[in-house]
Structure formats: C-alpha cells, structure tokens
Amino acid sequence: MTPLLDRKLVFVTGKGGTGKTTVASALALLVASQGKKVLICEMDGKGELSGYYEAPPTAFKEKEVQPGLFAMTMDTEASLREYLRLQLHVPVIGRIGPVAKAFDFLATAAPGVKEIITVGKICWEVRGGNWDMVVVDAPATGHIVGQLAAPQAVNGLVRVGLIRTQTDWMLEMLSDPAITGLLAVCTPEEMPVTETIELAGRIREETTVELAGVVVNRVLPELFGRQEEQVFDALTTPALLAELDDLVDGDAGPVLDAARLAVTMRRTRSTHLERLRSGIDPDVPLLYLPYLFTKSHGLRTTRQVAESLGEEMGL
C-alpha cells in the first residue's frame, strides 16, 4: 500500500466529535513542516479550520496560514463560477442572474452535480501540480460516501456533455491509490469504532477510493503495570486510604477516584481497539494519537498532534 505521506490527495473523514478537523489540520502541518507545499481545504464551510492555525478566517481563495501551508474553505457557488470560467469558458461577469439560477438548478434538481463541482475543484487543484499534497477536511462518515461516489453516480446518469468528460478524469484520479487516499478518524469508543468499520466496508463497495489509514484519536495512557495496579487497589482499601488521608492531610478519595476512572476508561477502550483492528483490513495502518489534556485548542495543540502523527508514521 502506498504510504499516506506519498499520496497527493488525502480525504480526512470521521464520525462527528472524533477530532476529524484536528487530525486534518495536523496532517497538513506535518507535511508542510517537511518542506512540502500543502493545501488544506475545509469542505463543509463551518469556518473552524482557521482556529487550528490561529490564522484569520479562510476563504475560497487559498491563504498561507503557516510556511508552505495554504488553507481554503469550499464554496459551491464560487467553485461553480470558477468551473464555468476555466473549463467551459463561459463568461460569468455580468451574467450573475442566469448563473445563480443555473446553480440552484444544479444543486437542487441534478443530484451529485454539487458534489462533482466541489470534489472537482479539489481534483483540479491536484491536477494543477501546484501542491505536494492536498488535504481535505471532508464531511463526516455519514456523508463522505455520497460525496466520493458522486462521480460514478453521475457517470451512470449522464452519457454525454462536459460533466461527463469531467467525471471521467476525476474518477481516474480518485481511483488511483498512488494519488488518492482516505484517512478515517475515530476514537476508541463503541459507536465511532462501529461506524469506522461500516465506513471501511462502504468505501470499498461503493466508491473507488482506497482507505489509506485509520487514526485512533484520544488514546488514554496506560497508568499502571499489573503489579502497580495491585498497589493502587490496595491503596483504595479503607485502612490504607485513611492512612494516606492523614499523611497528605486531606481527602485523597477524589484523587484515587480520578485514577480509577482513567483505568476503567482505558480498559473499556482497549476492547474497542481490538474490535477495530480485527474489523479493518490488516493492510490498512492504524495510527494512535494520545488523549491531550489541554486547556484549549489552537496552533500549539495542532503542533502536538502533528508531532504524534509524525512519530506514528516513523518520522
């Protein structure tokens, strides 16, 4: 399998709340830190991406947010205008009315066309050869399949026309595992793991894109070895707890409770990790990122995640 960092186009997806944007922004930062030129694109236009780099808000036109790292936000209408101008040579200026209507029409009446326009913009950027890698902060797991399957679907519907020509070369690019890969982000919890395994199946069956890796985010550290855990268990017995209370001159109960919580969480999560490993094709690498106990999110956190990601990839 082509290593993730050798690919030109990486879609990052994941169940909501698993840290999809965190991982996408960290991956882009990691690649840029190797002296490569990277474009990161936020697909759903929530405007959150810039926060991960502590940069001004991003727009459709890419902006450099870190040395060698450019960020953009997908805008379907702007993307359509660019498509009409560059590829169809339709003059857009001064004819906003008909184009806006055509846009409405495309988005509402012809399913998949909106996806073709947005994913098409991404593929266009890759094809232009300006970037060493394009990272896409893609829609959540429930929606990514529809987006990546759109070129085939439209191909099945439309037999001629310019959009057909478009889907042909897009399909070729998306289907080439040396160029394109999907990175799924999940956490070691029940639902995210179940959904990731389902996603892997649907990606294989319904799209031509290859699953290039799974990032397991928020993995808790192992607090104790086996014998250390016995020491911990002994400490929580009433007599020893009372002695500890006296020694520290306070209530040590809550402190031990927190450790108990951490131990139980880690144990519950490890069963999900095993389920994930056995549910995903053994060729697909699993990359583990630690749980970060940080005050807030920002460039510092993104850097920390990028470093962990680099370590996992053996950099």
Binding site: G16, A102, M191, A234, V255, L261
Partner: protein
C-alpha cells in the same frame, strides 16, 4: 469550594425537568452536533418516557449511520416500527408502564411510499419510480434525507399511533437544513425554474429570458440528461399540490406547541458553540427550545481545590509517602511493599487527577459562558463504561430525567 453544577443548586421539585417537559409534548426533536451522544440521549429519553409515563413511545432515528439498533440492542430495525421486546426490559430489570418502539429512516423506502401516495395514477407512479433521476434522488444522495425525515415524522404523527415521538437528527448543519427542507421543497415547486424545466423541449431555446440558462445547462449536462430532467419534473409536477400542502403541514407541525426541541452537546468548546448556534436558530424561527442536555460531563469531584492540593502533595512528596506507606502495603503481600513502585503509583495517580482536572475546569468555564437559556438544563456525568444495552440506556436516562 468550587462552584457546583447549576441543576443541583435548585430544589428538585420546583425545577422543570425532562420528565415534566416530555409529559406535555407529543414530538421531541433531539438535535445538536455530531459525537455528543445525541442518538443515545434520544433513545434514553424515549425509554424513560415509556417506563415512567406509561405512554406508547416511538424513537425515530434519521441518522444515516445505523446506530440506534446498537444502543437498543436490536438487530436491524428497519423503516417499519418495531417494538422493543419485553425480554430486553426484563434483562434490564424493569417493567415498563408503557411501550417503546423504534424505527430507522430508510430514505429510499420512504420516498417510494410518498410517491405511491401522491401520484395521480398508476402509470405516473411507475414512470416516476423507474426514472433514473428519481432513483438517485431517493437512494444515493444525502440532501434528500432532510425532507423525507420531516415527512416521515409527519406521517407517523398523524397516524396517531404514539403518545410521544422522539426524533434523532443528523448533526447540526444538516439538522438546520432539515428544518428548512419542507419550505425549500415548497419554494422549489412554485419557482420559475421548475416552470422552465417542464417547458416542452423544442420551445426552450426560443425564449429570450431562459436561453442563457439552457445554454449553460446543456453545455454542462448534455442535452440528453436535460431531457431526463425535464421528463422527471413533468412527472413530478403532477404531485405538486399534494407536496406543497404536505410540506406546509410539516412546517406547522414543527412549530406547534406540542413539539419541542432538545439540543444535546458536550462541554467541549467546538460542539458547544455549534449547539448554541442551533439553539439561537430555533429561537429565531420561533420553535420551542425545551431543553439543553450537556452530556459526558467530567465528575464534580474533579473541581475541588482541596483535591488539587492533595494531588500536588502526593506528587511532590511521593518518595517520602511511599516509604511511610510501604510497611502496611508490604504486610499483606511483600511484592507490593517496594517504595519505588509505590512512589510511581502515587505520582501516576496524582498526575491522572491533575490531567482530568484541566478538562473538568475547562468544562466548567464553558458551562458558565453558555449564552442560551432553555426551560430545562440537564447535565449527564461521564460514564466510564459504554452503553450497549437497555440497562445502560436506563442508567443514562435516570440521569437526564430528573
């Protein structure tokens, strides 16, 4: 002493709760960002209503991923409504006063049934169902989820089979679309665009106003595909009145006083901002914001400053403490009496507390900054194990219910 969670401050009896809120409603729409436990919260609320109110409750999930079945311990619940079996309740150790039903939204099946219902005759019905464009709208693409979810809710509600319907929704941005969907569909049907599309093809290029539109569309999509589109909408137009009428009724149902919205979030910054945004949108649309459920909140004991002092003492004086504790620890099992090992454990324990405290304090700040005021604000503590059966769901339900 650190500030306590707000709900525990007020006397329980006087405070409106999810219990009292749901007792007066017929439809509860659970919404919020992804990954906060929305589906589980919806299922737990429905379960509690079935158990305590003695009503007949349906939980309807519209999320594309099939998660509800997992949480309810049901395999493959489909578009049709299934009753959660007595055996599942028995295993959880409860005897419900009412009934709990569950259903998943199958987009394709729901669209098909909608077409069957609104098509003027059999031939039109069959032509629509066989149209390639229709099959794609119904089956493959996410946008059609929005409308059909509300449509299905309306259908189930008007059938009058349930006392309470709890609907789970796709994550926030989509949930907003899903509120707008009925109106958007009505707009689309009454738009000039649709009239353009269903004009007989030959006369299209003659009209001066519409010519640029057709030129662009034809160039992008090809004449043949445009023909398919025209045909589809000519057929679809026969259902115009029924659809517009229906989508208006759906809109009315959502703003009805029997309907309430429950926004679910965690206390992490990103989801919470999204949840606030959603709550504001609901208020703006004059929809009823019944409750905010704050899920997966770190336990209260992490907030105390006394705990911080103890943890720091344990860390700073780990070696000395280890030596003092070693005799008693080693008394039972000599292997546990190694001071170096005890010191490591004490340090790990203290670090664990201080780490989780960072998260707990961040959450407390987030809660204090919450800018919206629902009738009910429920807080659910972090569960250290997963919810995979009715018993687990019940445990969660009891937390949000009070």
């Amino acid at each position: 002493m650190a500030a306590r969670a707000r709900p525990s401050e007020a006397p329980a009896a006087a405070t409106p709760s999810l219990d009292s809120l749901l007792a007066t409603k017929e439809i509860v729409v659970a919404c919020g960002p992804g990954g906060v436990g929305k589906t589980t919260t919806a299922a737990a609320s429905a379960l509690m209503a079935a158990v305590t109110h003695g009503s007949k409750v349906l939980v309807l999930t519209v999320d594309p991923a099939k998660r509800l079945a997992n949480a309810l311990g049901l395999d493959g619940i489909g578009n049709t409504e299934h009753r959660v079996p007595d055996a599942a309740f028995k295993a959880a150790g409860v005897t419900p006063r009412g009934e709990l039903w569950a259903a998943m939204l199958d987009t394709k099946e729901s669209w098909d049934s909608l077409i069957r219902q609104h098509a003027p005759d059999e031939q039109t019905r069959d032509e629509i169902l066989a149209n390639p464009l229709y099959q794609n709208i119904a089956g493959r693409f996410v946008q059609s989820h929005d409308y059909i979810a509300m449509e299905r809710l309306y259908e189930i509600h008007s059938a009058g089979k349930y006392d309470l319907i709890v609907v789970d929704t796709p994550p926030t941005r989509n949930a907003l679309d899903f509120l707008d969907a009925p109106e958007r569909l009505a707009d689309f049907f009454s738009s000039r665009l649709l009239r353009w599309l269903i004009v007989p093809y030959r006369s299209k290029l003659i009209n001066v106003a519409t010519k640029p539109f057709y030129q662009i569309s034809d160039r992008i999509l090809g004449t043949e595909f445009m023909g398919d589109i025209s045909e589809f909408f000519i057929l679809f137009q026969t259902m115009y009145d029924g659809f517009v009428e229906r989508s208006k009724a759906v809109g009315r149902l959502l703003s009805d006083r029997r309907t309430t919205f429950v926004v679910v979030s965690t206390l992490e910054a990103t989801p919470l901002r999204e949840a606030e945004f959603f709550a504001e949108q609901l208020t703006e649309r004059k929809l009823h914001l019944g409750a905010i459920v704050l899920n997966k909140v770190m336990p209260d004991y992490l907030q105390g400053r006394a705990g911080t002092r103890v943890a720091e003492a344990m860390k700073d004086r780990a070696e000395r403490l280890a030596e003092q504790l070693a005799p008693r620890l080693g008394a039972g099992d000599p292997a546990l009496g190694d001071p170096a090992q005890i010191a490591r454990v004490l340090t790990e324990v203290a670090d664990g507390y201080l780490n989780f405290q960072v998260v707990a304090l961040r959450e407390m700040e987030e809660r204090a900054s919450l800018s919206v005021a629902p009738e009910v604000l429920a807080t659910v503590p972090f569960f250290d194990t997963d919810i995979y059966d009715l018993a687990g769901l019940l445990r969660l339900g009891e937390q949000i219910w009070r």
